[in-house]
Symmetry: D2
Subunit: 365 residues, 4 copies
């Protein structure tokens, strides 16, 4: 398996650069006979789109999904499903000034060390625009999961040190996921705690005004999951979710269930008691031995502050000469609101892959 593919059976292979012709993906292993809802895919892309509010980059990328293969009469056929989004607003010359400088916090230096050649136009292959493909894959995955009733949703929990109270949202996520989704979308931060959301927005604006950026924490939940998804060992959903999430640019930490919080508990506190209706608490975050318990799967992600900032930073050029760099351009001062749909998409994909695997080697439901 190459580094551009993800999934054990349902497999996505993504391709494209931020300033090339576009971003796309090939999905292999999609069950045939699925009436694909392209609008639903477009909607997810729109959630990831820049320019949604004054908190995100004003680039107005119209990211229109195109189907290059795999559909007949609106139905999947079992053939590879290829989706493509053309790059419309690419202006590589914007990068001319800094083409030979290594941007701190970016992969410029490491890509050159890895390949001996580097596409300097907006990070090339390692651009955040690559996540477009993941959002599209996740939107297909959601449709595969829909039969089972599974819902994937998320929220921004913390930005710039401002902590939201997610108690209400969490309860809603379990009882009325569509309402919880709507709550998340209500505020441009995607934080469903209105007071915290406003504080976060202000913190983002403050940092932006200073040419700086901020980080935060996002939460993803998968609810109405059947028990028995996932496999032991390297097929554990914890592991696959870890791979999925930590392969998103800017994510530097992942927790399942109580995460680091579980480490101070005793076993008698951390073990979720089992009753006739299933687990009676959810410290494990919906996964035991990497396999779904039937309870909500809960994932937290640490998102670093955006690396591209206007403040001057110390760096070198690709010849090793010292330099000062200011990364101009239209960059999100906080990645959290736009990373959320990407993280949800990856969670959906991990689960849909597990569903297809269970069809192959599991008992009937």
């Amino acid at each position: 398996m190459g580094p551009n593919s993800f999934g054990l059976l349902l497999k996505m292979t993504t391709f494209g650069e931020s300033h090339g012709p576009g971003i796309g993906l090939v999905l292999d292993g999609v069950p045939p006979g699925l009436a694909l809802d392209l609008d639903a895919i477009q909607k997810e892309l729109d959630r990831r789109r820049p320019g949604q509010s004054d908190l995100t980059t004003p680039r107005n990328e119209r990211d229109r999904i195109e189907v290059l293969s795999g559909l007949y009469d609106g139905m999947t056929t079992g053939a590879p499903l290829t989706l493509f989004v053309a790059n419309k607003d690419h202006n590589p010359s914007a990068y001319d000034d800094i083409a030979h400088l290594f941007r701190p916090g970016h992969a410029d230096l490491t890509m050159l060390a890895r390949y001996g050649i580097r596409d300097p136009r907006g990070s090339g292959r390692i651009s955040g625009r690559e996540t477009l493909a993941r959002v599209a894959a996740g939107a297909v995955a959601r449709q595969i999961l829909a039969d089972l009733g599974v819902e994937i949703l998320g929220a921004v929990e913390r930005i710039a040190g401002v902590q939201a109270d997610l108690t209400h949202w969490d309860r809603l996520a379990r009882t009325d996921p569509l309402a919880a989704k709507a709550l998340t979308e209500k505020h441009p931060t995607r934080c469903p705690d209105p007071g915290a959301a406003e504080e976060m927005a202000q913190a983002i604006r403050d940092a932006s005004a200073e040419g700086d950026s901020v980080g935060g924490v996002v939460v993803v939940e998968a609810v109405r999951i059947p028990a028995g998804l996932g496999d032991p060992v390297f097929g554990k959903l914890d592991g696959l979710l870890g791979w999925a999430m930590l392969s998103i640019g800017g994510v530097k930490g992942v927790e399942i269930g109580d995460g680091f919080g579980i480490t101070d508990l005793r076993g008698s506190q951390a073990n979720d008691p089992i009753g006739p209706g299933g687990l009676e608490s959810n410290h494990c975050g919906g996964l035991l031995g990497g396999i779904s318990t039937g309870g909500p799967i809960r994932i937290r992600l640490a998102v670093k502050p955006t690396a591209s900032i206007a403040k001057p930073q110390r760096t070198t050029d690709d010849q090793g000469n010292e330099a000062t760099i200011q990364v101009e351009g239209r960059h999100d001062p906080c990645l959290c609101p736009r990373i959320l749909p990407v993280a949800e998409a990856m969670a959906a994909f991990v689960l849909a892959d597990a569903v297809v695997r269970r069809r192959a080697t599991g008992p009937d439901w």
Copy 2:
């Protein structure tokens, strides 16, 4: 790729159950002509072995490594390297009493939901004994990395809420990794801060005396790494390390570099400035865009308290009847000291895989 395999090019496939004939692994993609040091592999297995101190389970499993294939005259040949450890001390009847009960915190319930059948002998495939195979694979990986000078080492940072000060160890890890390794091994907790280590040991003994268990945090570092290991997108080392670590039983969180700590920083604080000698700080944990910067790769793992505890817990049997369970037997009251060599092994494997990939598709060093 199946759920029992790990690695993109250098690939391990592990097999075996805790109470079957043994645990093994097939390594495909090992470079030929490597004079394999079997003693070094055995030493790593011994670090993982139970019964090393009064803090770990007294089971005296003599885990002797056997080579089933892939060596000629002590050299790797390019053929699959198969390593096997026979199970000596297995007593499946120890599990008869609880064969039909779901142990809280264990995968009994989920494995049955997944496969419709379950091996009740000590968790079967999903047993912690499976990590034996990973430790062996990691020991081979270390030998592949040795040519480049890479060293992988680790330490226990926190147990039962007792936090160690790793400043000294961290410095040592960078300047004299062998001394840092020795320091880690000095105390049975594998915490290199002697004061904290003693406190941790006491906390473990206290929990154990009450039939309970504790959790903690372990740290793994890879030092003397060349820049340019890893690939973008799903080949990011962050992602592969996330997969590797979160697929170890009991691990519920992973951080790279500053991890969740980075989320409260601003970009101007979080970005590591670049000087002629490379990055001048290491918030990124040695990885930018998933590719090594040349600085130390730093990983933190959240380890939950051992699920098997002697205290009575509420559960059901596999027919849904309520029951009380006490998991007797010889279980580690804290997983951290023994999970450390497993986590180091997985880090070594992820890096060795990246080295082989770079041979295939990178410039010469």
Copy 3:
């Protein structure tokens, strides 16, 4: 690995249907820093193009290669290389009459049995047009091989029972491969024996006039190969070539070296003696134990007569009702001349994959 991917390390994933938006492929594992010659790719596509002579279908498909990703400044970057050919001349309504009939010799019946749904427009995913993607992949592979001096070429040996004498061409292939290539291209049949070529052309015209089709045999050779390409067991080049060739629609047999002809020899005749300069004959077709000897790799393919014929044939519709079908349209009366570039491409790809694998796990050349 899904059914739309080929290659162990250098991997192509093809997508597209004959009457969808187009045909494409993603290549993962291409070495970075390759100055990609797009004209050379286009030239190979043109060799596969319909409408090249009165012996092939008059459809004038202008198959223009587009690069969707993976190039910067004309150089490969290590990112996935995505190539795409839009379908220009597609007229799905041409298939309306026979949308519910199973064409004999085609996969209509089997695709429906496999997926429960079927794209009736010109065979959908299973169309011969899919081989476009393979030709493009092979053209890239040739460029990876060019550094080593490897040349891949071929010839039509037999059509409609007319057997060519390839002695001269075979000698030329070894001494002056470019001249041998030119000789092949001289006649629209791609048979380099002029007398036989004329007879073949007449046989094709005769069959075509009767609404019928003919089959034949094509030969592919790889010359100037270094010894030591390939791997044992399932990495044997014989096996991978078998997979490559028998996955081309219409191919029903493959021979390596003497093929079926070797079965009547004795060991003392079939074994190629080894001298200081290498093997002194080539019954083995350039492969021993699946690994290249350094001698020419020689492959023969059995190509069935085109399944689409104008003659009335007995069949059923998808409800099981008996029917008579005449497959109108512009179909090649003989696949051999156009299958040749596809077979060459697959051979090139198998070898380039082996080259990349050897970089990962072999000694330096």
Copy 4:
């Protein structure tokens, strides 16, 4: 996917050398809940065993199958199934005389060129003994197929130029596969035409007496197959069977259905008419577009004469010095009777893999 693995979803990874500790395999993707019949596996191994008659090598290898993992109470659990056969009768010193000579027809020269190191004990990894693992995998595959009623069987068709008449056997294979199997096993040549079988046996003995060897042709059939197994493009069963068969040492050609014989037919003759009951003839060998039609899948293999012969042959040593070699030892003078169970096993495996794939991405049967 590495070179030691086969299968797209049901995957076997084989390991071991002819003179190492043993030969084994890991099967991933086996459906859980299968009551594994170990005797049936042993019986298939016994069919492959040397020393079955005076026509095969007198080495009396007692190849006893051992289960290293994946079974609980005789049932598969979804965990990797690992099977192992210890090497009992290995005497590496038998190879001392020729350790530095390249045996003509063997992979000695090519393995050294590939890996820079070579295990000289009886071909090491590339030994025919590796096929043990395939026979075991095939025996498991047969049990996966048994639910569907599928039967895999075969016959030797030609040895040393002696052609059998398989008309009767072919008919029997379709109507009473168990009787056809019994007929094959009746004669040590595994040729079910008694007259031809006797002639073949004599030809083998004659060659053997002269220190020489002979080749032949074997046929494998899969009958009582449901329609709809296989996938388009690289998942075509033709292609996977080609890979499977041409990766068996000594096989230099493969035909599906009419194979090379179809190339002289016209389309109107080669296309199998379709009636209400399915295809009315079987030129296509049970596969259209690589997917099963429901008719018998028919495969022919070209088997070269055994490379190890006692006659003196011209060669060089690994320093390039000319030499004469006589390969003493106990080698089969004809591979056909023992290659037959291997080829059947590979066919069974390809089909079982397709069955598991169809469970994942096909409609219900």
